[in-house]
Amino acid sequence: MSAPFDLTDDSVVVVIGTGAGGGVLANELAQKGVSVVALEAGGRYLPEDYINDEWESFGQLAWADPRTTSGDWRVSKDFSGLPAWIVKAVGGTTTHWAGASLRFQDHEWKAHSTYGDVEGANLLDWPIDPREMDDYYTRAENKLGVTRTGGRAGLPGNNNFKVFEKGARELGYKAVHTGRMAINSADYDERPACQQTGFCFQGCKWGAKWSTAYTDIPRGEATGNLEVRERCHVLRIEHNEAGKVTGVIYADADGNQQEQKMRVACVAGNSIESPRLLLNSASPMFPDGLANSSGQVGRNYMRHVTGSVYAVFDQPVRMWRGTTMAGIIQDEAVHDPSRGFVGGYELETLALGLPFMAAFLDPGAWGRELTTALDHYENMAGMWIVGEDMPQETNRITLNTDVTDQHGLPVANVHFDDHPNDVAMRDHAYSQGKAVYEAVGATRVFPTPPYPSTHNLGTNRMSSNPRDGVVNTYGQSHDLGNLFISDGSQFTTGAAENPTLTIVALAIRQAEYIAAELGRQNL
């Protein structure tokens, strides 16, 4: 039973966005008896609704509201209106995600101390002790049913993995396996085991892959403490003279503006929309946007050092069969500056269907160089690079007042330039990826440029000193005590690992803090 709360009920916690951060936070709070209204811009789709067709699914789930781009990244040229490939739906981008669920390495919580000053990078240590995260990580892994943790078996390797694994072993890599995945290898938590259908990026029709859409959200609703209002797009956050947030203005499913009163607001709209919302909420008291006394709202946008390596062999691979991200090489994830860059990267298998391969292998290219590659689509294997990128103050989300969305609000402009460390890391990863495939007889290898961002981080970052960031160790605004950031935008640095397990662990931790502070009447 979902609990209808009154618009004037100022005792509720409002959660904005229901993805990895917001969806988990809303459920965790509801389980503790806290009243929650979750506002989600997208509609509700469940496994039976997901479409196993790349473009059709994109049309169903992707965030397609206008955005603009600038900077030297190739996405800005090839996909100028689509800086990120993320979701607008109940469940957020956990519908699309591949499920790779890795803990940060200890030193990655302390990037500035470990790497030192890197010119042009705005590095900072997280205000969190890695040991404190151990327990939250374990709880997150159990929630998601992560394979190769908590006694859960690994997934079986598909063809794409077997090619990757063989090449990795030939090169002498040791930490090679089918990954720690939020995909069931056996029935777990009322969800079935993976049926190796492929299309993990389009929503898992079996529910074998964890998504808040069909786990945390319905469970939170079942407590009677959580009301999810779908197709409700938050436009601004209101505050009072005392510097507390008091309500949110949103456009409901019929386009009518409503105001929901509240006691606490938690922003979890992903790293592009969250800072945009704070900036669009500027007021005479906060002319630079809410929670922005540091000037860091929207800055330090990170997207991981990504890129892909695809290779063609003289025999079939059929990489699209089975889990999209079917295995990992972790040997390069260490911090080893002798490679010519700080931080590390993971290599993870990846498969695209023919329609997306044509669009993303070499965007904008045409002619035989591209088409002879696609001719051998059946003989292709693929991997994705995910490495730590440098936070830069000038990589940022700003409001583009020349372009407005369907609600008449300025859209987000996403500016990104690669840092020299990012370029050095990507080049290293390209050559290692190429070597992996050549070791198993690849006849042609493609160093494929980064796609529109799937990992979006850092634009409301955590800091111990309010001058350096937007929120404290619990994701609480340094400026407005009852405003929280609950998604990947609170990341101080990005680490080499896919971010979602950490987003979930931080949401579990934040829920404990908020519930305790509510109990102490501090919020």
């Binding site: 196993n52 067709d53 790349e54 473009w55 079986p156 390797g157 598909n158 063809n159 077997k162 090619v163 063989k166 993976c194 049926q195 190796q196 259908t197 492929g198 299309f199 029709k205 079996w206 025999q315 079939p316 691979v317 059929r318 699209w320 069969r321 089975g322 269907g353 023919l354 329609p355 391969m357 044509a358 669009a359 904008g364 045409w366 002619g367 035989r368 591209l370 088409t371 696609l374 001719d375 689509y377 059946e378 198993v440």
Partner: protein
Amino acid sequence: MSLSKQGMTRRQLLSQSALFGAGFVIGAGFVAGKASASNWALEVEHLNPGTMATLIQMARDIYPHDQVGDQHYATAVKGYDTAEAAEGVEAGVAALNDAARGVGYARYIDIGWERDRADLLRGFEDTAFFQQVRGGLVTGLYNQKAVWPIFGYEGESFSEGGYIDRGFDDIHWL
């Protein structure tokens, strides 16, 4: 793709047609494959049939796949046969033909080698017309379910229970 214009069969249509370039026949309001084995024809309402045939050739020159028949390229560009698009496409193809005359051919379609057509197209790369056609092909061609099997791509597998028992790990040559 078939044509049902005024109830005429392909054979009847072809009796009123002319060869156009190496691979096409055109007649009043249609383009068709030339080879007797080809079974496609495309009705055009707003574009000149010769313009549509040139567009089909251009589509192939942008994304050449020798194993993919013209009917799939025709399907990919048939959406340009609208009142709104026609003017721009006619102008774009006219410019291609002008450029072809500049290098000694009567029309774009008359240039014999793909390499020479591609060279000519490269000069148009930054035009809105070229980018519109190329961009449209990315989905227009590769998102046609009918071409997927030609590349070995199998599409969705949920309806067949996934690949768990159907070869997700059947690689044999490693």
